[in-house]
């Protein structure tokens, strides 16, 4: 009999450890941390969209350190060039050959800070890396690691000198997360921790190595999604296309991403199959990225869409 059993316990402890570490880095934001984990295990790229100083970069750094992966960071500015991200061939005077200077994209975790400050041209340089996990420089294609993922942050209220991400770029991200202000008590604790400590040099020990991460990602891939759930996702997707306030509904790629995130969420809950609650749990970050509009407006629309479709009760 296959009763309610936890999935392979060693991995589960690892997940718990990672969870705890991230919660230490970002105090009082358990729900956000959970979604970040879902995104990471679902092998999706993450976009943080929030005000400055709320811990976006802190969380991104903590995540990359905890995974123990190669971490690279790009501070996006309007004069940043595509080659500043992908890298370029430089002529070596001594050897008289072209030598490849790898850009920050050649890493396991890439943090693109304030991505909407880069020009669309530079933003587009990441298309190939994000979608196909490979980089082409001067007709030479380099394959990136399987677990490569991008964490980007953007500032929603600064519009001067900012370039909103194109739809094609947005669709390549899996989730858009807002962290939001912490609770009062959490802020009090945070300040307490800061007394006598240098926050800048806080280090996190690696909890997972890349192989373990890939193993967990593989486990997510194989989480079961039965037909009624798939139909539920498709119906929700159709609703986004028919909703009068949504300009552009969900693409099939969007649906696939949504399903993957639901699978990942199910694994985090210790299940080997997806239930309707998983689909609904990841609906907000997945849809917010794709249906556009301001965040409060899009949240209302997402609620309406979720309300309009009957939850599958029996398969």
């Amino acid at each position: 009999m296959n009763m309610i059993q936890p999935i392979s316990s060693p991995a589960n402890t690892k997940i718990d450890e990672l969870r705890q570490q991230l919660n230490r880095a970002l105090v009082g934001k358990r729900d956000v941390v959970e979604l970040v984990l879902a995104c990471v295990f679902g092998n999706g790229h993450l976009l943080f969209d929030d005000l400055p100083g709320l811990g976006k970069t802190t969380l991104a750094k903590a995540l990359s350190q905890s995974i123990g992966a190669g971490f690279a960071r790009v501070q996006c500015t309007p004069d940043l060039m595509p080659s500043d991200i992908t890298g370029f061939n430089m002529f070596d005077q001594q050897t008289r050959t072209f030598e490849l200077r790898r850009g920050p994209v050649f890493s396991d975790v890439l943090l693109a800070d304030e991505i909407n400050r880069a020009t669309p041209r530079t933003q587009s340089a990441m298309f190939e890396a994000m979608a196909e996990r490979q980089v082409t420089i001067d007709n030479q294609t380099f394959v990136l690691p399987k677990s490569f993922f991008v964490i980007a942050t953007q500032n929603p209220i600064e519009s001067h000198g900012a370039y909103p991400l194109p739809e094609a770029q947005l669709d390549r991200f899996a989730m858009k997360l807002s962290i939001g202000y912490p609770e009062t008590q959490d802020e009090v604790d945070l300040l307490g921790e800061f007394v006598g400590a240098n926050f800048q040099i806080r280090e996190f020990h690696p909890v997972l190595d890349l192989a373990e991460l890939e193993q967990l990602q593989d486990q997510v891939l194989h989480t079961e999604v039965c037909e009624s759930i798939r139909r539920y996702i498709v119906e929700l997707g159709t609703q986004t296309r028919n909703h009068p306030k949504v300009e552009l509904g969900l693409s099939p790629r969007g649906l696939m991403t949504w399903q993957r995130m639901a699978q990942s969420w199910a694994m985090l809950q210790g299940r080997k199959f997806v239930v309707p609650e998983d689909v609904a749990a990841v609906a907000r970050p997945v849809l917010q990225l794709r249906i556009g509009g301001s965040s409060s407006k899009s949240l209302t629309i997402i609620e309406e869409i979720l309300m309009s479709v009957e939850v599958p009760t029996e398969s």
């Binding site: 079961e224 039965c226 199959f273 398969s315």
Partner: protein, 815 residues
């Protein structure tokens, strides 16, 4: 591009023809209007040409202009010019019948306004059916066609229109279903299942449905409303014979051709009007009721008045003169007549609403066997006078002094005398005025002693057409009026009888408002024969009217008692030695119609209501010939009924015989509703225990229906778990959902069960939901039946109805 824009672009690509079901139903509507118009058409070939042109013209226009319509892409206000062209075309096409009408009216080929209006709507609808390609206007065309068909079906009593109407209803259902399924298809998730077989199998379904409906409609036959439609359905063309464009009601207007209709005057060459020996009233009575019987053993009877023939030796002789009517008769021969025979035997034809009754003779003296009447040529001051007036250029005879508040509406009939051999006009009750073509002699008619109008001379000539306008009594007013002078003092004989029976201590004083008015002389309409049966009648009458306030309600109570407790038996023959047919009737509780009326008269008289026996003709629905729009009156229609005297002059007919129609009244729908309400309230008042119980039960159910529902759900769950143990988990989920519904906290369809159940009890809900998820969303998981049983038991014991209700109440309080 959004989904809506995609839809819009899809609708641009349209087929060359409209949907077949719309086209066919539109065509049926065209045919309905064609048949409807044929009913009143003056020149049939023109109608055929018009209909053919109407059907064909939109197709011609479409084929001529369709290419140019497609090529014009300019748009005004978001709509293409084609859209406006079709719209304008429909309006133009709809105006065509009006233009045609203006052209044809000078030639005398016009139609009534409503027919033209129907035709206009129909033209516009058909144009839209053929030419429009967007769903909105197709819907509009469909709605217009439906309105036209509905109108035609209501206005026409033609079977063809009815049949086509049924066909159209079937088509309409088919179109609506098709429309619905098409929309379902568009919305289906995968978008591929465009070929639901709605247009394949549905042909058979629609065919069967139409056949069944048609069969039912025709086996049931046209309703009473349809039958009697001539007379109360108002038409703009008018309903009087002299109005040019009348097409219904009384007469077909001046356009009528002589010989086509039985109401026309002038020579006709049809063999159905060949002259033969006209039957006398005696023959008519004998044909219907059988001849009067000779009673073997005759006792000496005291006769009420000396003036009538004391020794009626030859009954036949007396009946021949129309002065008497015997209530003991031989059985009549039962003859089934064909329609043609009936038309040949017609005494007169009646055009106008049926049922109707026409009085020809009245009797008021009854000696226990024979009814007779006295001719007293005494002019009374209340008698109405006959005046000759001119209305609409025609001479009309009008009776004055007949207006009372309970006679508030009018009714018209057209009577054509055929073989009716009598000088008395067969008149409906309360005849107000009458008219005969070109007859304007002031002393042509006189008012006889019995309130009937007679023509000077032997009889009314054959083929005379008489237009009759009569007033209609309002029975509701009679029932509820408190100051009607209905009573007359019962004769001393009655009072003595009553006292001897101990029925009444002080006669006639039990109602202060209806204190009987003593007459100057003893009324001849209160005479009853001195016979044993009279006392029985009196007892019965008192018994029936016990507790009913004196007045019209008592009259109705007597009449209804006879109607409901006695059986009509035309074949019943009184034994030859029977001296009191009424006594025999009371014993047997069955008898022919004249005994019903005789008994009715005697019972009413014994209560003190002045009553007389009227004989005449009752025209019923079955006598109506829809083809010619008139009713045939033969000897078969002979009937007798009591009439109650009101306020000295007015004689109100009542009908005690079952199966015969109640006298026509002008009671409005509101009045009838009020009467029904009174009956219901009275019934409720007389059954207090039953009412109290049912009221209590309904209050209990209304207030606690949710609790009762939860009990029903529990029973259903137990039973179905027993029957389908393998579905236990699903059944339990359903049961818990139902409990939430009953507690007033129904789970929305968009909410997963876990989130909803855990609001009340998260622990037991979690276990159940886990199990539920395993069973439904994990294909590789297998769950032991015992754990299902245990979890089901647990959750049903935890999430009880009371608990959920309490939780719902808390939520309410919070809100």
């Amino acid at each position: 591009m959004s989904a809506k824009r995609l839809d819009a672009s899809r609708s641009q690509k349209l087929p060359a023809l409209p949907p077949i079901e719309l086209l066919v139903s539109g065509l049926v509507a065209v045919l309905v209007v064609h048949v409807f118009r044929a009913d009143s058409s003056r020149f049939m070939p023109l109608l055929y040409i018009e209909t053919a042109a109407l059907i064909g013209l939109p197709f011609v226009l479409l084929s001529r202009f369709s290419t140019s319509l497609d090529s014009r892409k300019s748009s005004i206000g978001g709509k293409s010019s084609a859209w406006y062209t079709v719209q304008l075309g429909a309006i133009g096409f709809g105006l065509l019948p009006l233009l045609l009408q203006l052209l044809l009216r000078p030639f005398g080929l016009g139609e009534a306004f409503e027919v033209v209006a129907v035709n206009m709507v129909q033209c516009a609808a058909w144009f839209l059916v053929v030419c429009s390609r967007d769903p909105d206007r197709q819907k509009a065309a469909f709605a217009m066609s439906s309105a036209v068909v509905l109108f035609a079906c209501f206005m026409s009593d033609q079977r063809g229109v009815l049949a086509l109407g049924i066909l159209y209803a079937g088509m309409a259902m088919w179109w609506l279903m098709g429309n619905y399924w098409n929309r379902v298809n568009v919305k289906s998730i995968d978008g591929t299942s465009q070929a639901l077989p709605i247009h394949g199998l549905s042909y058979i379904g629609v065919g069967v449905a139409i056949a069944v409906c048609g069969w039912i409609a025709f086996s049931l036959g046209p309703s009473e409303q349809l039958m009697a439609v001539n007379g109360f359905m108002p038409v703009s063309g008018g309903e009087n014979w002299h109005e040019t464009y009348s097409r219904s009601g009384l007469g077909d207007g001046d356009m009528l051709t002589a010989g086509q209709n039985a109401t026309t005057t002038g020579a006709v060459d049809s063999d159905q009007f060949i002259e033969d020996d006209k039957p006398s009233m005696y023959d008519i009575m004998t044909e219907k009721y059988g001849g009067p019987m000779k009673i073997k053993k005759r006792q000496n009877r005291a006769v009420a008045l000396d003036t009538i023939g004391k020794h009626v030796d030859d009954v036949k002789q007396s009946e021949l003169s129309g002065k008497s009517f015997r209530t003991a008769r031989r059985p009549a021969k039962d003859k089934q007549k064909t329609l043609d025979e009936r038309i040949t035997d017609a005494l007169f034809f009646v055009e106008g609403s049926v049922p109707a009754r026409f009085a020809t003779a009245v009797y008021h003296e009854f000696d226990g066997l024979d009814w007779s009447r006295v001719e007293t040529r005494v002019k009374r001051k209340l008698d109405p006078t006959i005046e000759l007036q001119e209305k609409g250029g025609k001479p009309w005879y009008v009776l004055r002094n007949l207006d009372r508040e309970f006679l508030n509406t009018y009714r018209s009939h057209k009577i054509k005398i055929m073989r009716f051999d009598s000088a008395t006009i067969p008149a409906p009750s309360f005849m107000k005025s009458w008219h005969i073509f070109q007859v304007n002699l002031a002393d042509m008619f006189y008012w006889d002693d019995y309130g009937l109008v007679r023509i000077t001379g032997e009889c009314i000539p054959t083929q005379t057409v008489i237009d009759v306008v009569s007033q209609v009594p309002n029975y509701h007013t009679l029932r509820h009026s408190r100051n009607l002078h209905l009573f007359n003092d019962p004769s001393d004989w009655f009072d003595n009888t009553l006292r001897s029976l101990g029925w009444r201590n002080s006669p006639g004083t039990d109602s202060a408002q209806n204190t009987p008015q003593p007459p100057e002389n003893e009324s001849p309409f209160l005479q009853v024969p001195e016979a044993p049966s009279t006392i029985r009648l009196k007892q019965l009458a008192l018994q029936v009217t016990e507790g009913i306030e004196p007045g019209w309600n008592q009259v109705e109570a007597v009449v209804n008692h006879l109607k409901h407790n006695f059986t009509l038996d035309s074949k019943l023959v009184v034994p030859e030695d029977c001296e009191s047919p009424v006594g025999h009737f009371l014993d047997e509780a069955r008898g022919p119609s004249y005994l019903f009326s005789t008994t009715g008269v005697l019972m009413l008289r014994s209560l003190g209501y002045e009553t007389r026996l009227t004989s005449g003709f009752v025209v019923q629905r079955k006598d109506y010939i829809s083809k010619s729009g008139q009713s045939v009156v033969t000897a078969e229609n002979t009937h007798t009924w009591p009439e109650v005297r009101l306020e000295g002059w007015h004689w109100i007919p009542v009908e005690p015989t079952p199966t015969y129609p109640v006298p026509y009244g002008s009671d409005t729908l509101l009045q009838r509703g009020w009467d029904c309400l009174v009956i219901v309230v009275r019934w409720m008042w007389t059954h207090p225990i039953l009412m109290g119980l049912s009221l209590g039960l309904s209050i209990l159910i209304t207030w606690n229906y949710r609790t009762l529902a939860s009990i029903v759900f529990w029973l259903k769950w137990r039973l179905s778990c027993f029957l389908f143990p393998r579905r236990r988990l699903a059944l339990t989920r359903q049961f818990i959902d139902q409990r939430f519904w009953a507690a007033g906290l129904p789970r929305p369809h968009c909410s997963p069960i876990g989130a909803w159940y855990s609001k009340v009890d998260s622990a037991s809900a979690k276990e159940f939901v886990n199990l539920w998820n395993f069973q439904n969303f994990c294909s590789s998981c297998e769950i032991a039946q015992e754990s299902i049983n245990r979890t089901s038991r647990e959750i049903t014991s935890q999430l009880t109805f009371q608990r959920i209700k309490k939780f719902a109440k808390q939520q309410d309080n919070k809100a």
